[in-house]
Symmetry: C2
Subunit: 574 residues, 2 copies
């Protein structure tokens, strides 16, 4: 492609309404143009990237034996009534009436349509297992569409649906899709994790989310690494669901309990700093109200840990807990927050200690007296053992992995894929049956497998960018190589050399763009960096004289001058 | 592809609700599954064909210099208000309200969206000319969706929109697209015609429709052929718009006028048969009422011609003509219909003769007396020359082509493409401007160019089918070659030979399907014929013994036995 015959329109200013870096860079690079809230036109540049992602997804789905078809975007209300989702799906379902007042929706997903297809097309167990997929526009009427194509209303999704006679077959295809997703994200050059997930609204028996790791991700993920930071296992979980293992046995007491003045030190950090001790020796007391039987609860975690609300809510009596009010705290502990502790409450309380707190000796807690903490506190000697010891904290970096392999690293993730074992939820609701080997009509088991094709583009940018712009993984780059021509209109020899190089690279199967727009070098290089082309080659009069081309890899510091053979060798090696 | 790992589901019965052969065959071949009125799921088989069409369209658009982007299917009401089409487009526009009650439509076309894109993205004449295209789902809420994907509500369309500084540039791109469309339909292996068209609702200054020729087409087309039936020129027009040229000079009179008894002969055909003369010597009289000045009109065409209502309505005084009532006919001519003629009317009438009637001598007309005609009638001698001689008939097969090259052939066509020169209608309505070389803001001129991608699939079948099923042109076939295995489960040697041949053909770049389903030969062959695979190869034990494969081209009468080299040579030659 010659840029003079393409439509590239970059902008210098960071758009004011774009909150995250991928949205900012996609707008600056001119990949997107907003049409309306949550609706974007993919420019020629943006579409090139989107199609590369789509092609990898398609190739790997085909390789995995899935069969592509194409469903309409518009789906009839009747099918959604059969599964009850016409009411239950909620406001994200864009409901439509046609000119005859018949009800439709713009498909946000296609379980109903594919199950309707299957109940007409599948008659016998001999046709199973089968996995149908579709790469098609979807629509979810987000209340607050934002972040560009990260949370658009109309988006491109790959959705696959498999049908099985038994659990073993479903499990095999689930594993097949799990492995396929790994291949897809690996080929796309993305750092990602598969995370065991709750099944949520779609229902079913097993589910994994695939997250692209990026600091801006909405989800926090814990995964296992070895001492060098390499993967120690395939363990990964949402931080809120990852188990914090019990530490070793509690050491013996070595200090006497003493009251220390902490006149303005209300946080564990401040107290630890004042006393010159490790934050991990302080204990945070969180005051809660459980159910009527349980009453006032003091939940204890180490000063360097955070209470995990999901884990707390799974404990007996805390199913619907809330934070205690200041009045309740004063009533039970006799102190204002900031100096709370489990010793000498005014009224009976329930003390729940995190496993790591139960393993402490010589620790520091609030004295239930404004301006004072207690140090050198020890379980059994200074206060009773806790009523309950449980995992009530978030895991932190360096915690042992729950699967016993390595330690946990933390990352933030952007969900770009999801695999579900659905079971017979949809086949039963819509009475989709096949005849088994004995001639009995049975409801096939189903799996469903989604990938947010357009979201991947944004997620890749969140993961791969620098101050100059996007750093595309090779498989997603709009072009692999940009040949930049200095002053092509004034220097015919340079223009001809660049053209020859461009043709040579194209002929060698290297996807190349020729920047023949005649921009000043600074503006041209800025564009090529912004749009993230992995390899830049500059053709200039000076280089021609020296018999070299200037080569620079995107993200590398320095440029090198290479002769033609050296350049081709470099570019051919990827 | 191995059919055992594909989803192919053919049906024997012709579906009762499918009215045209393409819809019937697409359902029988299992290419489509109806989801709701005018909404179809493309099965894996159907999608393979659709994607082949899409790929050819994309390749040729790219080659022509058009630049692909991707617009959302959902478009905001505000843009359609700017052009006034929110009201004017009519009931086909599927209007939608989102959860915030904002107005949208499902795009039936994208002039508004692309013009909005252009007014933001195009700033200077230096960016012109440019042609953006998009292959995307469209929706038209047809009152009566029917004929399968021939007139579906949701369909796949390629729509392109070009922007120009001046008429010459627009005209050049119009010609470029006209030529590109020709290449597309030629590559797809379709017999087609480009037909000059009225611009209709989209407006603009020039327009051509591209029609795939098929007996079932909704439109009648006349085009120029030479004596051998080959194209004599690129002349083609809607039959109703094609000009019927004037014939040669009128010969001299050779007969005397005489009254002949035609007791029950009311039609020209019956009169010509009774008298033993050519139908072209008889004259049909059509009684009309023009405006107040014009009054009663007798329009005369030859017995072998049909009056053309569009041409009549363009004549002075006939802008809003209607057929005369029987009372008006009796009042002016004194006879009932069936025996009408231009001689001796009771009251003054206007006689308008088609050019071919004005050139007749010794002709036959009604006598204005029930049961009688007049024969041997001659202009100037027996009745006055006609008040007006004009082209008022439809062209017929064999008429000279209006461009002077060859004679007209008639065909029926299915519109699959349309090119328009729009002018500044949309750029002006939406105030899309660019700066010209003098720094003045000007409204660019636009062209738009559509292809009904999904409709092409149906049109190709209308043009190419036989009693056994579909006859795909090579470029559209789901696969080029089917390797059919006789009894693969019982005969390992046959299965292995078929597998080896399949791999060899695939390796040679020949898109091949292996029918390894183990069906009886009759059922297998019927499927392969129905779905229209161009080349069938049968691998059987008998063939293996003889060292041959049975080869048959789809649509050919007989099969041949070829050895491996002969088979490969045959298949490689296309």
């Amino acid at each position: 492609m010659r840029l003079s015959q393409f439509h590239l329109r970059t902008v210098k200013e960071t758009p004011a309404d774009a909150e995250i870096v991928s949205h900012q860079l996609m707008l600056k690079a001119g990949m997107l143009r907003k049409l309306a809230a949550g609706l974007y036109t993919w420019s020629p540049l943006g579409l090139r990237v989107l199609r590369k992602v789509e092609a990898v997804v398609r190739e790997e789905m085909d390789r995995a034996g899935a069969i592509e078809l194409l469903m309409p975007t518009i789906q009839p209300q009747e099918l959604w009534e059969e599964t009850g989702r016409w009411q239950k799906f909620g406001g994200q379902l864009l409901k439509i009436r046609d000119r005859k007042e018949a009800g439709y929706c713009y498909g946000p997903t296609a379980e109903e349509v594919i199950t309707d297809f299957a109940r007409h097309e599948l008659a016998s167990y001999k046709q199973l297992p089968v996995n149908f997929y579709n790469i098609q526009s979807k629509f979810r009427d987000e209340i607050r569409p934002r972040f560009g194509v990260m949370r658009a209303r109309e988006f491109l999704m790959k959705d696959a649906y498999s049908f099985h006679l038994d659990e073993a077959s479903l499990a095999a295809e689930y594993r097949n899709m799990y492995a396929t997703y790994g291949r897809i994200f690996t080929r796309l050059g993305l750092k990602f994790r598969a995370v065991a997930a709750d099944t949520g609204a779609i229902g079913g028996s097993a589910s994994h989310e695939f997250h692209v790791l990026a600091d801006s991700g909405e989800d926090a993920i814990a995964y296992a690494v070895d001492a060098q930071g390499a993967d120690a296992s395939d363990y990964a979980a949402n931080v809120e669901l990852a188990e914090a293992l019990a530490p070793g046995a509690r050491p013996g007491a070595t200090e006497a309990m003493r009251k220390v003045a902490t006149p303005v030190q209300k946080t564990c950090e401040d107290v630890a700093a004042l006393l010159g001790i490790a934050l991990a020796r302080t204990v945070k007391s969180v005051a809660l109200m459980g159910d009527a039987d349980t009453g006032f609860v003091l939940a204890l975690v180490r000063g360097d840990h955070m209470v995990n609300e999901i884990k707390l809510a799974k404990l007996p009596g805390l199913g619907e807990y809330r934070l205690a009010t200041e009045a309740e705290i004063l009533e039970h502990l006799g102190s204002e927050p900031g100096f709370l502790g489990p010793l000498a409450p005014r009224r009976p309380i329930t003390v729940i200690a995190d496993r790591s707190v139960a393993a402490l000796a010589d620790f520091v807690v609030g004295a239930n007296e404004p301006g004072f903490h207690l140090a050198g506190v020890n379980w059994g000697r200074d206060l009773p053992e806790p009523a309950l010891v449980a995992d009530i904290r978030n895991v932190v970096e360096g915690d042992p992995s729950p699967d016993g392999k390595g330690r946990l690293a933390l990352a933030r993730g952007i969900e770009v894929g999801h695999v579900f074992a659905l079971g017979d939820k949809y086949s039963r609701a819509m009475d989709c049956t096949v005849l088994d080997a004995d001639g009995r009509a049975v409801h096939p088991l189903m799996g469903c497998y989604g990938i947010g094709v357009s979201r991947i583009v944004a997620a890749a940018i969140e993961q791969n960018h620098d101050a100059a712009g996007i750093l595309w993984p090779a498989a997603m780059a709009p072009w692999q190589v940009a040949v930049c021509v200095i002053n092509p209109k004034a220097d015919a020899a340079v223009a001809a050399a660049a053209e020859a190089l461009y043709r040579e690279l194209q002929a060698a199967g290297i996807d190349t763009v020729l920047d023949d727009r005649g921009l000043r070098p600074g503006a041209m290089f800025a564009d090529i960096e912004l749009i993230g082309i992995p390899h830049r080659v500059v053709v200039s009069a000076r280089g021609l004289d020296a018999g070299t081309f200037e080569y620079r890899a995107r993200g590398a510091g320095d440029a090198e001058n290479l002769d033609r053979a050296g350049l081709l060798a470099r570019l051919s090696s990827g």
